[in-house]
C-alpha cells in the first residue's frame, strides 16, 4: 500500500469509494496521510507509546465519518480536524503530572538554562538542558486552556500556517492570529505565576 504520492484525482476516487463503504479504498488513503496523523498525534499527546493506537482510532473515526466529507477543504485538513479533536478528547481523560523538572533545578541552574536558551541556538544546549526545556513547555501546554493548547500546538509544534489552522479549527485567519497572540501571552503570564507559586512553596 505505497500510495503516498497518489495524484489528487486518484485520491478523490478513493474517497468516493470509501464513502460507499469500501474499506480497501480507504486503506489506499492511509499511507499518504499516516505521517501527518502520527506527527500531529505525537505533538499533541506527547506519549510515544500511545501514538499508533490513537492514530488507528483516528483513521477508524474518519472512515465512519467519511460520508460527511464534502470536498470543501482538503482531505488532509479534514483528517487533521478529526485527529486534533480526538487527541483532545483523549487528553481530557489523561491528566499529566503538573510538576516540572525546571522547578526542581536550583536558581543558578535555572538562570544558566535561561541564559543558554536566550543566547545559543537550541541545538547547542546540552541534553539535560534540552530535556528540561522540553518538559517545561510540555507542562505549560498542559496547564493552558484547551483552546490555547490547540492553537499553540498546531502553530509551534506542527508549524502549520495560520490559514491551515483556520481551516482545521473552523476559524477566520484573523481570529487565529489574535488567539495565537493571546495564547502566547497567557502562557508567559502563567509561567511567571507558576514561578511565583513555586517560590512560595520553596519558602
Amino acid at each position: 500500500m505505497e500510495n503516498s504520492g497518489a495524484p489528487i484525482d486518484q485520491e478523490i476516487q478513493w474517497i468516493k469509494r470509501a464513502q460507499q463503504g469500501d474499506p480497501e479504498a480507504f486503506g489506499f488513503l492511509v499511507p499518504k496521510h499516516q505521517k501527518r496523523v502520527f506527527s500531529l498525534v505525537y505533538h499533541l499527546v506527547r506519549r510515544r507509546d500511545e501514538v499508533e493506537d490513537l492514530a488507528q482510532e483516528i483513521f477508524i473515526k474518519a472512515f465512519r465519518a467519511i460520508r460527511s466529507y464534502n470536498f470543501q477543504s482538503s482531505f488532509a485538513t479534514w483528517l487533521s480536524r478529526i485527529a486534533t479533536n480526538h487527541c483532545y478528547d483523549y487528553l481530557r481523560h489523561v491528566r499529566a503530572s503538573r510538576v516540572s523538572f525546571y522547578w526542581q533545578m536550583g536558581e543558578n541552574s535555572q538562570q544558566e538554562l535561561e541564559a543558554n536558551a536566550e543566547s545559543q541556538p537550541e541545538q547547542v544546549l546540552d541534553h539535560e538542558e534540552q530535556t528540561v526545556l522540553k518538559d517545561l513547555v510540555t507542562k505549560l501546554l498542559d496547564r493552558a486552556p484547551e483552546n490555547d493548547r490547540k492553537i499553540l500546538a498546531l502553530k509551534e509544534l506542527q508549524d502549520y500556517s495560520v490559514e491551515e489552522i483556520a481551516e482545521i479549527l473552523n476559524l477566520k485567519p484573523t481570529t487565529v492570529k489574535v488567539r495565537l497572540h493571546r495564547a502566547r501571552k497567557r502562557m508567559l503570564g502563567d509561567l511567571n505565576q507558576w514561578r511565583e507559586e513555586s517560590k512560595g512553596h520553596a519558602l
Binding site: 463503504g21 474499506p23 499516516q34 505525537y42 492514530a55 536558551a117 537550541e122 526545556l133 506542527q158 497572540h181
Partner: protein, 158 residues
C-alpha cells in the same frame, strides 16, 4: 513605552529581531526583561519539541487498519445506532407535534358545527300547536298523516 505595548510587540516579533526602542525598554524594565527571557526560553522549548520526530507507523499498519475497517464496516457502529435512533426520534416528535397542532386548530365538534339532537327535537308546546287540527278530528285517524311518534309528542297528546 508602556509595558503592555512592549509585550505585545515582543510577541508580534516572536521570531524576529526587536526594534531599538523595545531593546532600550528591556534594559530599563526588569519585569519586561524577565518576560523577554521567558519568551525566548519557551520559544526555544517549542523549537526543540518541534524537531522531535514522531514515531513511524509499525510495519503493516495500513494493512491491519484495513482489516479493522472491514470488521467495523460490517458491524453497525454506535454512531450509526444513534443516527438511526435520532432520526426516528425526530420523525416521531414531528408527527406528535403535527397531531397536537391539528387537535388545537380543529374544534372538538368538527369543522362544521352540526345540529344536536336537542336542536332537532320539537318543543312539546310547539308540537301540540302544529298537530292540533283546526278543522276538527280525523287527522289522527289517518295513518299517513299521523305525526311520527316521539316521546314528547305522545306525552303531550295524552
Amino acid at each position: 513605552m508602556r509595558c503592555d505595548d512592549v509585550r505585545d510587540r515582543l510577541d508580534i516579533s516572536w521570531e524576529g529581531q526587536q526594534p531599538v526602542e523595545i531593546r532600550r525598554h528591556l534594559t530599563e524594565c526588569a519585569a519586561c526583561a524577565r518576560f523577554h527571557r521567558d519568551l525566548r526560553m519557551v520559544r526555544a522549548g517549542f523549537h526543540l519539541l518541534q524537531r522531535e520526530e514522531a514515531p513511524e507507523p509499525s510495519l503493516g499498519f495500513a494493512e491491519r487498519l484495513v482489516r479493522r475497517l472491514g470488521e467495523v464496516s460490517k458491524a453497525p457502529s454506535v454512531a450509526d445506532f444513534f443516527e438511526l435512533a435520532g432520526r426516528r426520534f425526530v420523525y416521531a416528535t414531528l408527527a406528535l407535534t403535527l397531531l397536537a397542532l391539528l387537535a388545537l386548530a380543529v374544534p372538538s365538534t368538527g369543522p362544521v358545527q352540526s345540529l344536536s339532537a336537542a336542536d332537532i327535537q320539537v318543543p312539546a308546546q310547539e308540537a301540540s300547536l302544529i298537530y292540533s287540527d283546526p278543522m276538527g278530528a280525523g287527522l289522527q285517524e289517518s295513518p299517513d298523516l299521523a305525526p311520527v311518534e316521539t316521546p314528547t309528542f305522545t306525552n303531550e297528546a295524552k
